[in-house]
């Protein structure tokens, strides 16, 4: 127990060695809090949905509307706050769905390295790698109505192979380690060897990749909503807001600029956090 606490303290220490990652941590915390409590924190909660107030349309940033208002008079700050929700669901949801799947696939293929199982599984994985995310998203969108869920599916389809490949390369080298041989000599079964000997040795790079890629997934999600394949209006989505405002550039710059900055902010936040996680999981003594 004492050692367990020690290792947590040690992790926190390593994480905080990198001062910038603390900033990242607070930025992420802020985004999450804002997203969860958007209805309470937003100055104009009604702006999140189908709301029209032409008397306030296209107002530049002011004390009443910090980020200005869009062409139908909705407060952009409030819409950005609500749009964080979709972006977070996108980033966390996709990662949470694909990591276990990709890791499992990679582990099994890696354990059976050199056999036909390895070949079949990894070539199927390669086929998925060759399909670009946007193309897949278009395909998925053409099957059903574009929605947040469908765009998440599209990104997940295109993204899991990278986790499978990472885990595969780790697992296929770890399986040759003496401790795996040693586990065999005590009569351990396959499940034990895969999950207790090989998997724990693959986790550090997987977690690092995860933490660094949440922001990247959010960006792809925003791209999809920018081309109209994500969350549909009137629900607020960062990509959609940027593309809607683009027609009014440069005169009404605030309509696209602030959602775009919000995207940058989120990605920066997750990348800084990811850096912290990376130094936390590294064994290097700083």
């Amino acid at each position: 127990m004492e050692i367990f606490l020690d290792s947590i303290k040690n992790s926190i220490y390593k994480f905080s060695r990198n001062k910038v990652s603390i900033i990242g941590f607070f930025m992420v915390a802020m985004v999450i809090i804002v997203a969860i409590f958007a209805p309470l924190l937003a100055p104009y909660p009604k702006a999140a949905g189908a709301f029209i107030d032409f008397s306030n349309a296209s107002k530049p940033p002011s004390r009443a509307h910090f980020f200005g208002t869009d062409v139908v008079g909705r407060d952009i700050l409030s819409r950005v706050m609500f749009a964080f929700r979709g972006a977070l669901i996108m980033g966390l949801g996709v990662i949470a769905a694909i990591v276990p799947f990709g890791v499992l696939v990679g582990l099994f293929a890696g354990y059976y390295y050199g056999t036909w199982i390895d070949t079949v599984v990894m070539r199927i994985t390669d086929i998925f790698v060759t399909l670009p995310a946007l193309l897949l998203a278009l395909a998925v969108a053409s099957f059903g109505r574009p929605s947040l869920f469908n765009s998440m599916m599209a990104v997940a389809f295109a993204w899991w192979p990278f986790y499978a490949r990472l885990t595969y390369s780790m697992a296929s080298s770890v399986r040759n380690e003496t401790f795996v041989k040693a586990a065999q000599t005590i009569g351990a079964h396959k499940a034990h060897i895969i999950f207790k000997e090989i998997l724990p040795n693959c986790l550090a790079p997987i977690f690092t990749k995860m933490a660094l890629e949440i922001g990247w997934v959010i960006l792809v999600g925003a791209t999809l909503s920018f081309v109209g394949l994500g969350e549909q209006p009137p629900t607020a989505a960062l990509g959609t807001m940027v593309s809607d405002g683009a027609q009014y550039l440069p005169a009404q710059w605030w309509i696209s600029l602030f959602p775009a900055l919000a995207i940058c902010f989120m990605i920066l936040a997750f990348n800084l956090l990811g850096d912290g996680v990376k130094s936390m999981l590294s064994t290097e003594v700083l």
Partner: protein, 330 residues
């Protein structure tokens, strides 16, 4: 002599590589009796580890067993089903690896590794170890291996221990539950000399206390001479000489054994031995007859064409060399 535990008969093992087939083991015969300590000595690359791995069937994928039997209590390990082999590994045989650092999973605590090992094992009564007993057994095993503060060691990770401690932990694991055979594959190669001595004493003590048989694989002649009752001298995947340890060291017959023993530098001076000219066997194109014949100073024409049979020169002392089979008049 007491009961036969392990009987390796005419074992031939090779490895498929890109250049062809490496014929490594070429008819190895080894007998291990209950409670006996046996050494397998030979140079690097003489097939010692391949022998050990064949016994536990943990050979790499490229390996191919051509012929032979590994009889453990009269059952052939090589033809056993997978569940039978895993039962054998859980109940009868354990192995001490050369490099304890590599053989302990770096992301698991010693406690978790040991509880896996003990959890898979069987008690002397032949039943699985109960989960409630595991911790106590682990602590006892560590204590027997002269490790201080076992509780603290259980909670630490392999990298937090020193090399000697790691090897002690490994020995503790190998002998935590009753075993009839322990295979130690160069257990002290990676340790410094003082630790080496302690580790060997420890293995010897535990083996004797538990009436277990030991196969000690080593290239170090002094380690083997101290630790074992009987020795198999291997060269190029064949057993060239076998005898009681003292007989073999005092009165070696085979030219290879003689040459090897003369290579030990003596404190009394005289410099290094003359060494053995030539190189280790090329397993891709192994000599047809005696595998030592290209380097042998006393090689006869027959040595290059026929493999020498193992002949008994004295009771219990067998040599695979034509020099002695002729002497016997056969």
């Amino acid at each position: 002599m007491s009961e036969l535990l392990l009987n390796i008969k005419d074992l031939k093992v090779g490895y498929r590589v890109y250049k062809g087939l490496l014929r490594v083991l070429n008819g190895v015969n080894i007998e291990i009796y209950k409670g006996e300590r046996v050494g397998i000595v030979g140079e690097t690359g003489s097939g010692k580890t391949t022998i050990a791995r064949s016994i536990l069937r943990i050979l790499p994928k490229a390996a191919k067993i051509f012929d032979g039997k590994v009889l453990f209590e009269d059952k052939d390990v090589l033809t056993m089903s997978k569940p039978e082999v895993s039962l054998l590994r859980r109940q009868q045989i354990s192995m001490i690896f050369q490099d304890p650092t590599a053989a302990l999973n770096p992301v698991s605590t010693i406690g978790s590794i040991m509880s896996d090992v003990i959890g898979y094992s069987y008690t002397a009564e032949g039943s699985r170890v109960k989960p409630s007993q595991i911790r106590e057994m682990a602590i006892n095993a560590l204590r027997l291996a002269s490790l201080p503060a076992p509780e603290r060691i259980l909670a630490s990770y392999p990298f937090q221990l020193s090399g000697g401690m790691r090897q002690r932990v490994f020995i503790a694991m190998a002998l935590a539950t009753p075993r009839s055979l322990v295979i130690a594959d160069e257990p002290t190669t990676n340790l410094d000399v003082t630790i080496q001595d302690q580790i060997l004493r420890l293995i010897k003590r535990l083996i004797d206390e538990k009436h277990t048989s030991l196969i000690l694989i080593s290239h170090s002649l002094d380690v083997v001479s101290e630790m074992t009752d009987r020795v198999y001298m291997t060269y190029g995947g064949t057993v060239v000489e076998q005898a009681n340890t003292r007989d073999l060291f005092e009165n070696p017959y085979h030219p290879y054994s003689r040459a090897l023993l003369s290579c030990i530098p003596r404190l009394s001076g005289g410099g290094f031995g003359s060494g053995i000219p030539g190189q280790m066997v090329d397993y891709l194109a192994a000599p047809r007859g005696c595998r030592f014949s290209p380097r042998c100073p006393k090689a006869l024409p027959v040595c290059r064409t026929e493999a020498p049979p193992l002949v008994e020169t004295e009771p219990g002392h067998k040599v695979a060399c034509f020099l002695f089979s002729e002497k016997q008049g056969s």
